[in-house]
Symmetry: D2
Amino acid sequence: MEKASFLEIAKSYKVIFFDSYGVVKNHRGLINGSPKVIADLKAAGKQVRFLTNDASRSPERQMKKFRRLGLNEIEEAEIITSGMMAKQFLENKVNSGKVAFLGTPASAQYIIDANLEALHISRVNLTDIEAISAFVFLDDEGFDWNIDINTTVNLLRKRNIPVIVANSDKLYPVAKNDVSIATGGIAQLVSSILNRQFIQFGKPDSQMFMYAFRHINEQAVSSKQDILMVGDTLHTDILGGNKFGISTALVLTGNTRAANVESMIRTTGIIPDYICDSIVS
Amino acid sequence: MEKASFLEIAKSYKVIFFDSYGVVKNHRGLINGSPKVIADLKAAGKQVRFLTNDASRSPERQMKKFRRLGLNEIEEAEIITSGMMAKQFLENKVNSGKVAFLGTPASAQYIIDANLEALHISRVNLTDIEAISAFVFLDDEGFDWNIDINTTVNLLRKRNIPVIVANSDKLYPVAKNDVSIATGGIAQLVSSILNRQFIQFGKPDSQMFMYAFRHINEQAVSSKQDILMVGDTLHTDILGGNKFGISTALVLTGNTRAANVESMIRTTGIIPDYICDSIVS
Amino acid sequence: MEKASFLEIAKSYKVIFFDSYGVVKNHRGLINGSPKVIADLKAAGKQVRFLTNDASRSPERQMKKFRRLGLNEIEEAEIITSGMMAKQFLENKVNSGKVAFLGTPASAQYIIDANLEALHISRVNLTDIEAISAFVFLDDEGFDWNIDINTTVNLLRKRNIPVIVANSDKLYPVAKNDVSIATGGIAQLVSSILNRQFIQFGKPDSQMFMYAFRHINEQAVSSKQDILMVGDTLHTDILGGNKFGISTALVLTGNTRAANVESMIRTTGIIPDYICDSIVS
Amino acid sequence: MEKASFLEIAKSYKVIFFDSYGVVKNHRGLINGSPKVIADLKAAGKQVRFLTNDASRSPERQMKKFRRLGLNEIEEAEIITSGMMAKQFLENKVNSGKVAFLGTPASAQYIIDANLEALHISRVNLTDIEAISAFVFLDDEGFDWNIDINTTVNLLRKRNIPVIVANSDKLYPVAKNDVSIATGGIAQLVSSILNRQFIQFGKPDSQMFMYAFRHINEQAVSSKQDILMVGDTLHTDILGGNKFGISTALVLTGNTRAANVESMIRTTGIIPDYICDSIVS
């Protein structure tokens, strides 16, 4: 673990995996200078991917949102969301039936793209649930927490079906000092109440890294030694990158602040290869 | 562990501690015949207490609700709620300031009775929290889960104050086959998100048993060998009674059904002294 | 929470509950000056009790050990061990049969004092276990961890009997910078492997505080407001004292050091009423 | 989920992933008829791989052990162990220094094969640990549990280095009705004591499935729809296979018995695509 300049260390890698929130953008918008950094990396022939624990909207919508913010260099194919892992699971393992979900209409796109019928939890009738073949936690918005989380608990007590958590993050920042409970937090509440283990997607799990790696690999440009994961969160970005066997750089523009980075690394035992102030320096 | 008649085994004890929900009443009202059983026990000189994991209303209101249902033999002093333990804690350890809470106005009575100012979570202004000296999870109703649970998380990130869970139950039944997430489930979500341990009251914790025991003892009628705890839930009523050192009887009119009682005892390792169909046979 | 002189604040209380290790003694012996502090408190008419998470030896042996170290003012009746809570449980709830245990011969005294037959785990024959009526985790010494912990797992898979953890501490210090896994750590391993919940005794659980309180109370000298718990460990001494409703003082001569006391209080949310350098200043 | 003949359903897949213990062999040796089943599958042009949570010996030694038992059709390249994932991690992320470990000399081969120096825990001197760059839990044998697990705890308190769990299983069977605590159980004890998260390899984690899939894929014969995972354990083989997106078959010759398969599926929520009595029918 060494303190380093991101721009300097990036030169040694052919591929950069970026976390999005806390790295490229924050609650105010893009981090100053980040579009130029991304553009320069691509101009230098490096491949970039954005690995984000998010199932609230499709990669296409995420790309458009990035562009609206001013990051024009980003392509839809460079965005890898945990929602895409959930969609893959549904395609591979759930062949028919209705898929009930917690989330917004935009998040339901992942179900629809798997050629399945999406059923919003508020439309579930607990006396008529035989046709429901899976359940997905997609987003923390788009439903009434009190009524709809309780409906979820009762649905899953009555139907033993695959349950997918499309974003395992427990919290996300909504302002400089304020946070909001995320999809993974709600899923954990239900999981704990039911004493059942759900299928979780998102960093630190290996599947998103594997997906990005295969995507890169098919273009025959990299081994794991050529890849750097950049993130602001020890227990998702850094733990996941370390376990996958790639280099990891922690930036201090998001969840981990300069004041407590040392104590957090010591208490968690999650050790990045590099610590960088930000991706723009 | 033996299958037994409750009416028969009750003869051997001078004091009976009853759980309320699933034992004396259920979602439809009083269990048929239970008022006569309570009346007969008292007529036979036995003392009874009702130990309930509940902070939604005061013992006085609970007594009145029991009487409205038809259980006239019950006195306010015979009702011991987990909310009373929270009130005691506030009296002993929180001397001044405002106490923020999640719950209904009726549940706030426990704070008011401790001579403290109750501040509903919806009235908390996150930029003005210095006067808040404690937080209590009282009830799962009376607030907007999405907005107010998130306010709770942010309040507790900013203020390191005592946090009390006045009812540690995670679930409660609302119909024959349906349940609702209870106060303890919501508290656990917040605790897990913050990675902090709260002060929890309610069975199986010893404090309610101790309170009831001292209450009885002061009347000089019992040792622990003279007391029987009757409940429908292994991990609250039976675990708590066993640990406190009193006899325990599991009834099959609530959370534990005849069909799975054996497997639940085997998998949990929580072993009642007696298993009874109900308190009326 | 305020920084304070122990000798000063002790004046305001009629009863002092002391944790033993890290407060009165450490791995080198008695903390310099502690015998005089204890003697002075008693001379001033205060009652003292020593509440220790320990089941490795009887209160009598603990008293003798204290005296050998030079603390002559201590009486056997002033020592309250978590082992005594386990003994009480056995007396109240296990009437006959053999009680298997992990620990030394000295620790088995708690079983013998409950008028039960103690059976060391190494003498358990897994094909002849019908007579075993309970199991107790007493001490981390006196057995072969590999062989005997595995025998424990297999015994408890085959016999559904009460399992008691007579000391829930996970670690204890054995030198300035070295620790050893304690009874509670071993019990947690077995509990996790079996997915069963055991009956645990020791701080922060209320039962030791209740026992000490009744012991004091019978001599009619105190209400909870008159009692101060002094300890070196946030999640046992301070959490337990707070929850029981008595005042709490954290000393910095054991598990919690001056350098990290603030961050530990912030991250755990366990807040002592006072912080004192030691009991001798 | 349907009850099915393994021999029948295997016809629909081009690739079969087998768990080893409880599927092909048990504590008595090979399951009767399993060599012929494997031979027939290979003769029919199917690829097979053996995915085993094991780091006690190298794939070469595992292959030789299989052959000694009578399974001659097996090749070293068909065996994928969780130890191989640990070796990969060491190769990718630990470039120099000594790697301390818990395990037998045979298990240390995984460290040596990563071109690193293996240091048995019993040879660690706690006053000279600066050269230790990683720690690996390899096997539950080959060390003194009491002394060496405590040395591990103290080493990891003093050195913040990557910690790898090369086999996350908590238990393994040693006789018809007896079990032994496995590497993952010991690692969990240490992790819980230190309150730190380790890097775990082995099913249900995706990395072994990914490794096997890439191995197959390079030979250009399969998509995920062509693969069947066969295992005896819901929370490793079946959960892992489901999450990876391949078909799963539970056999009843190991950890999951016919008598409780339905209740285990219901309580865990882990649902195999098929249930088969064994791989030989």
